[in-house]
Symmetry: C2
Subunit: 301 residues, 2 copies
């Protein structure tokens, strides 16, 4: 509540500043997949990227300057949902302004003037290395080294002038850090998409959404562990014509008789959706709306 009051006082000053430059906090640096999501979501706008080490740091940045917008991965088609990020959103009482879906495609990049056969060592984030397992098997002599971040692996090669070294990173990172792309689309599974949420305080959300059509929502609710309690709630949503696009249960540790559900909906009629929330209230324990926002475009493989 304190934060909200502070921001109300500062609202006009902040609002003026913001019209000049949007400040967006992301996890990782430029050229990392969060950075690409930020650049694409705010394409055509002046955006000041604030790199954060952890997801929690994004929320600390917004706490310090309530005008900052956060971008955070929430689920990946291969790795699954990032539950702790849902928890962070819930805990900090911020709102989702939008979503961005990015196809994750890795490239193999090194300092210019080298062929793929001159590479002796490759460095990247362990998940990226794992996702390119088939490609790495084609390079049997190459030593595989873990790095904290895909983009920082690329930056290290530039900064330290590491000849014979390659990074597995985004094409954008290779471009930013002056590396030559020796192979692209090297991920084993091409169906690799990450969904990012763009979020912030109420006024930041309003500013981002402007006149866009709101047709999606993310909510979290708890249910008593009674037989058929979820079936009842979903039936009510179905009667109101609200389509479920994602559901994920999460046991509440220490409250084993209750369950928590994260649900995403799609709808044509925002009013009808709001009415459905009123209708389910008597059937559930707690309800929190994480955000109501326009659906993102699903990229092609």
């Amino acid at each position: 509540m304190k934060i909200l009051l502070n921001n109300e006082q500062d609202f006009f000053i902040i609002n003026n500043e913001r019209s000049i430059m949007k400040r967006v906090a992301i996890q990782g640096g430029l050229g990392a997949y969060h950075g690409i999501a930020a650049e694409n979501f705010f394409a055509g706008e002046d955006v000041d990227i604030i790199p954060c080490v952890t997801f929690r740091d994004i929320f600390s940045a917004i706490k310090k300057d309530s005008n900052i917008i956060g971008i955070m991965a929430i689920e990946n088609t291969i790795a699954g949902s990032l539950l702790q990020n849902y928890e962070l959103l819930k805990e900090h009482k911020l709102h989702i302004a939008g979503e961005y879906k990015l196809r994750i495609s890795h490239c193999f990049a090194a300092l210019p003037g080298q062929t793929i056969h001159e590479i002796k060592e490759v460095q990247s984030h362990p998940i990226a290395l794992m996702q390119c397992g088939n490609f790495l098997e084609t390079l049997p002599g190459v030593k595989v080294v873990e790095h904290e971040d895909t983009a920082l692996a690329a930056r290290d090669i530039q900064n330290k002038n590491l000849i014979g070294n390659a990074a597995i990173c985004s094409e954008r990172a290779a471009e930013i850090y002056g590396l030559n792309i020796l192979a692209k689309g090297i991920e084993t599974n091409k169906h690799n998409f990450t969904r990012f949420l763009i979020f912030g305080n109420d006024w930041a959300v309003e500013d981002i959404q402007k006149d866009e059509v709101i047709n999606k929502a993310s909510i979290v609710f708890t249910l008593p562990h009674a037989e058929g309690s979820l079936a009842k709630v979903l039936s009510v949503f179905s009667f109101y014509g609200i389509n479920l696009t994602k559901i994920q249960s999460l046991p509440i540790i220490g409250r084993e008789w209750e369950y928590q559900f994260y649900v995403d909906f799609k709808f044509d009629d925002l009013e009808r959706y709001k009415q459905s929330l009123v209708a389910i209230k008597p059937l559930i324990n707690e309800l929190r709306t994480l955000g109501e926002y326009p659906e993102g475009i699903t990229p092609e493989v």
Copy 2:
């Protein structure tokens, strides 16, 4: 099918071998959390642990010797579900024999004869390092280094006689690799549980389950993307007295008009549960039972 036939021929030989020593493939080495889950699940039995680098390698091991049992993490209360592991189970047509829930608790361990203040560097898996963030803040001068595995970080300290170096690992790993525990329970969030699945081919599952009471099941089904289709299916389960304990939706890439649901159930009556599966058949597209097994015990915090 080929694997099944091979195994039918070898069945009696294998069965004899197995009565001497169970072979269990796990991801990571001894003292890693998968190893602890294996030791605890098969407590009192002779178990031969087969360490695997990746989750996929567990399945390759079972493909080579169909008698091997796999143990694999499927969800963690902080990090969420490991979707790719569900996919591996589905793809390989193996069955779940049981589940094991482990409380993840890290310790800070180093070569004997040192105090915590003599430690200059700590190494562990990035997730373990992250989970001990608060503890690490109390050691400001200590350099934090990422390692591929918590247990292997401990082993390295022993093998390389790394004085001034500590690992963040399980107490079991500290014990196996002769390290002295300088601090225990150093994870920030104590509500850190991982659920492991024990799985294998039909006969291996039968052998593990013996006369145990089956009161849990994991299934995966696809639904047409029609309004209220999930509500209908869950209503049927509720009419049959089958309790949902977990639900997770997963979009099917390339088949955007369908949805896939991973669901866990608890029930008192195995027959009733089987009848409910017959009852939902006309309402769904595809159905696969990943396993029917006894519920694991939830450890205390």
